[in-house]
């Protein structure tokens, strides 16, 4: 298949890896964070963590959308699922994320109207098919997903679909990266920037971070050679004391990003402060629905009560998401918490760090 095999060439990969292993790091220890959960999983699948020299450490970041969803937001979704006449539609990843007392999957098994969809347009179809029900779509995801939800809202308004609304829990990654760098004790030397978020926001979106924090940022693809080249570009910069944005994934990411998607996103949503699991409220890191689109905002259509939410006491997802801890350091990892009975969201999601550790290194 095109754009796949050529980026998996094992001969080239071996040379690139060997070169990383042979570099002179002196007494330096490089902490490089991959923001995106898809990168975390790709690195595990390749066994990269084991193959890199001890001087290069990969730290997993907060780029798994369901993992960073605050437990209050999960509880609000659960409340909606319990309302008569309401159908809650959601991406599959959120189904098994535990709220304070239950999950959407549990609500569904108890007869709650919860439907899993693959795309925002599918949720709109559920609304067309069920004109006498209120259909709520749970909008989670980053800059990649938000425009797709905006597209469904635009379509709903064009068609005059009145029984459709959206809960916007979308989040923006650059503000979270800044918050991580502003936090205490976060010794990071470079970011492997998310490939597909960058498709929308463009490589230019990281310039401000580089300027303010002098930290190298490399937008990286997901294949073996992409990852290795991305690492080379970061290591080079760190060892040479440079910091700039480099776009390794230029076949899928342009410097400015996707203007059509950005425009639609900005038409429907505006930045707002948002709560992140493990990171607290980060200014300007969320997207709320603009006033003009309030008629499609589930938050104004339903009187959702304030939640008395609580996270599971032993779950250390917050620290894992900040890169302050690895999953095996959590006392519940692989015992009370495993993919069958996940205690925290980081174990549920296919992009979650705990889930990835469990799948690839259950014994660590």
């Amino acid at each position: 298949m095109k754009y796949l095999h050529e980026y998996r060439d094992s001969g080239l990969a071996r040379s690139l890896l060997k070169a990383l292993q042979k570099r002179d790091y002196g007494d330096r220890s490089l902490r490089l964070m991959e923001i995106c959960g898809t990168h975390t999983v790709a690195m595990f699948r390749l066994g990269l963590r084991q193959l890199l020299p001890p001087s290069v450490q990969l730290i997993s970041g907060p780029g798994c959308p369901v993992c960073v969803t605050a437990v209050d937001d999960v509880d609000r979704a659960l409340w909606l699922a319990q309302q008569p006449g309401v159908i809650v539609t959601t991406f599959g990843d959120l189904m098994r994320v535990p709220g304070s007392c239950s999950s959407l999957a549990q609500e569904k098994s108890r007869g709650g109207a919860v439907r899993m969809v693959y795309a925002s347009f599918d949720a709109l179809q559920v609304a067309r098919d069920n004109p006498h029900k209120e259909v709520v779509f749970l909008g989670i995801g980053f800059e990649t997903t938000a425009p797709t939800v905006a597209a469904a809202m635009l379509q709903a308004s064009r068609e005059g679909i009145e029984n459709f609304s959206v809960v916007s829990m979308h989040k923006l990654l650059p503000p979270a990266m800044k918050a991580l760098l502003d936090g205490k004790g976060m010794d990071l030397h470079g970011f492997i920037c998310p490939g597909h978020v960058s498709t929308v926001i463009g490589a230019a979106a990281y310039e401000e971070i580089v300027l303010q924090h002098a930290i190298p940022c490399v937008v990286t693809g997901f294949e073996t050679l992409d990852l290795l080249q991305g690492l080379h570009l970061l290591v080079d910069q760190v060892l040479e004391g440079k910091a700039r944005v480099i776009n390794q994934y230029s076949r899928a990411v342009s410097w400015e990003g996707n203007p059509a998607a950005q425009k639609l996103l900005g038409r429907v949503f505006e930045p707002a402060d948002a709560p992140w699991r493990g990171l607290g409220v980060i200014p300007g890191s969320g997207l709320k629905i603009r006033k003009e689109w309030q008629f499609l905002d589930a938050a104004s259509r339903f009187a959702i009560p304030r939640m008395e939410s609580r996270e599971h006491e032993g779950c250390r997802c917050g620290e894992v998401l900040r890169g302050a801890m690895t999953p095996p350091q959590c006392g519940l990892f692989g015992k009370a918490c495993n993919p069958e009975t996940p205690v925290g969201p980081c174990m549920v999601s296919s992009e979650g760090t705990c889930g990835a550790y469990h799948q690839y290194h259950p014994e660590d």
Binding site: M1, S15, T145, A252, N258, A260
Partner: protein, 79 residues
Amino acid sequence: MCLAIPAEIIEIEEEMAVVSVGGALRKASLMLLPEPPKEGDYVIVHAGFALHTVDPAEAEESLRLLRELASAAEDENLP
């Protein structure tokens, strides 16, 4: 939610396309692409929407850089 591999456009009908993701056929909306793609183009698809048309020239260039990097690395790897 993220498909990390590019999808090939098989058929376009107005703003929707049938795409092949490693052989599996799916539907994807084209309405978020800045430029309309053609059949045979590869696109990055996320949650049912194409978000970028893979640029063949950029892909070539990045492979060229990769090979260059690898051969420089090979030279250094020689004892």
